[in-house]
Amino acid sequence: MNIDINFIGILIGAIMASSVPLILAASGELITERSGVLNLGVEGMMIIGAISGFALMVITDNLFLAIIGSMLSGLLLSFIFGFLTQSLLTNHVASGLALTIFGIGLSAMIGKDFVGIPGKEFPLLFVNLKEAIPLFGPIFFGHSVVFYFAFLLPFGTNYFLKKTKIGLIVRAVGDSPVSAANQGINVLLVRYCCILYGGAMCGLGGAYLSLIYTPQWIENMTAGRGWIALALVVFATWSPLKVLVGAIIFGGITILQLHMQAMGIRIPVQFLSALPYIMTIVVLVIISRDSRKIKLNTPTSLGQIFYKEK
């Protein structure tokens, strides 16, 4: 009996761990989108974060530097996007797509010397508590510091958007950049900051994959997680706490299909692997059906080009 309870705990722990990159990327993108910017480059920024984190870990042998570097590289990539869309007023959708294509190509180019190198063990916190407490031990303890950061992030994001002045400014810029500008707010500065923050979080999400979750570098290892993170923001109707719920649901599907594969259930592997993608579509349909509910929190100026005549 004891073994069964622990198994459930380990299962839930695994589900939470697999949702971490989604929470990080989606929370970052949520802030970007709340400021009225639609960055479709999440997948590209995540994969660049993954390779630069892994490469820095191999070169410097320092995990702290690797994590910081992955965030910086995601930030740098998002700066390209920010410069294009904000300063050169390019189309958000096309620029984001270019970022993803560029990012995937660049990551494979950088990563060719890092294929097959084993990763390093990432220090886990509260390992002794993990074994000491049944059920809750494996769920809440024995994870990495990034894991705890990810699960606190949606609450922090929620507080930031709803309770702080800067959060209010971000929302104002997203809902009506023209009025915000007339109030003396520097719309460009706010949007740049939100884009860069989103980039850094996507980079961190990628690094979680290559440093902690499956510590190695594999080409294209994000496998569409960036796009699922984008779908999660819609799923959450732009509210941070629902990102947490959505990410755990998707983490659950991922882990569940892995376990079904391992248990040898007689469904072809490919159908199980397709589950997260099909579920994304189903969930999008359910959420988007009610257009009023969607519009309630959608940043009004999302994806629109803002230009102030000087």
């Binding site: 050169l88 096309a94 294509i101 560029f102 660049l106 159908f271 994304t280 349909v285």
Partner: protein
């Protein structure tokens, strides 16, 4: 000092010159990247962009790769022109390949003039139906077509994987993940002995012509353009928005499906896991680089096809990974979008006097 001001009207000359500027900037940046990677930049660029097309075989390979890119981009231009963001052409290509390939496998030991047309029609139909999923979900459930069409890419690739490993795998194939070879009458005819260029290029050229006629000479093309410029105007004019969403997705899916069957009945001759080196995604760049204009897309597809070939040559001669091609493709799109700034704004040089508002 410089001052930036909005142009009152965009100039046509700049409209078609900026893609050339974008390509130039890509080459310069590419040279810098090669230099940083420790290669001689000019030599590397030569291996990338000149060596691959310096013989007849290379030119044939260029056309071979440009064909699917051109076809898909033509279809995508219908979607993008009307503000429908179908970015799942790769999935529609794959599904078209699956349906067309399925028909080809039915006839694996048949010969007959009717086999190839059936396969091609089946492929176009498959791509079309697959593209209707994001369109219908967008029309009736208001879902985001970007995300849905993209998720379907993964689904279709996994389906193809399942088929070639499982039920459709070659019974005499020693468990390799591939189907039987198609029969000879299921293959697109080769144009020149010894080269791989095939009759699929005519399908692409016909679609370019048809697209030009539809976009510039028909009422439908006018509707597509107006909805792209202003949805409100289109609504006010009473255009049937929903029908048009469905229609542009169907056109673009059919084109991608055609590209898919073109690959499997052309150079490949069977189904396996990798029927497309991401043509569906690269075609997005082709569509933009060609300015969503059928003639522009023809040129753009040749240029982007060169980045594929260049990456292969550079992989052999310089040992750079083949993904370098993708980096170049991403850069072209970056620079193209950036140089569009010149379209809508002019930069005035005002000398070094202090400028007063």
């Amino acid at each position: 000092m410089i001052k930036i001001e909005r142009r009152n009207e965009t100039s046509n000359l700049i409209y078609f010159l900026t893609p050339i500027l974008a390509i130039f900037l890509t080459l310069v940046t590419g040279a810098i990247i090669f230099y940083l990677l420790g290669f001689k930049p000019l030599e590397a660029l030569k291996f990338f962009f000149i060596t691959p097309i310096s013989d007849l075989y290379g030119l044939s390979e260029l056309l071979l790769k440009a064909t699917p890119l051109c076809l898909i981009a033509i279809g995508l231009s219908f979607c993008f022109k009307s503000n429908n963001w179908n970015i799942g052409a790769e999935g529609q290509l794959t599904f078209g390949g699956i349906v067309g390939g399925g028909v080809a496998l039915l006839f694996y030991n048949h010969e007959g003039f009717y086999v190839l047309p059936l396969i091609i029609l089946a492929g176009a139909f498959g791509g079309m139906v697959f593209a209707m999923i994001p369109a219908i979900l967008k029309i009736y459930f208001n879902t985001n077509e970007i995300l849905v069409s993209l998720m379907l890419v993964y689904v279709s690739k996994l389906l193809l994987d399942y088929l070639v490993v499982g039920p459709w795998s070659n019974p005499e194939g020693f468990n390799f993940p591939e189907t039987r070879q198609f029969s000879d009458s299921a293959r697109l005819p080769i144009l020149f002995e010894g080269l791989r260029i095939h009759a699929g290029i005519f399908i692409a050229l016909v679609s370019v012509f048809l697209a030009w006629v539809i976009l510039f000479k028909t009422y439908l093309g006018f509707q597509i353009k107006v909805s792209g410029l202003s949805l409100k105007t289109a609504k006010y004019a009473g255009f049937k928005g929903k029908t048009m969403i469905l229609l542009v997705f169907m056109v673009s899916g059919a084109c991608a499906g055609l590209a898919g069957v073109g690959e499997i009945t052309g150079p490949i001759g069977q189904l396996h896991r990798m029927i497309s080196p991401e043509y569906g995604f690269t075609a997005i760049i082709v569509a933009f680089l060609g300015r969503l204009n059928p003639i522009g897309i023809v040129f753009a597809s040749l240029i982007v096809a060169l980045t594929y070939l260049g990456a292969e040559t550079a992989q052999i001669f310089l040992q750079v990974p083949k993904y370098t091609g993708q980096v170049f493709q991403g850069m072209i799109l970056f620079f193209l979008l950036a140089s569009d700034f010149l379209l809508f704004f002019r930069i005035k040089f005002l000398g070094f006097k202090r400028y007063e508002y």
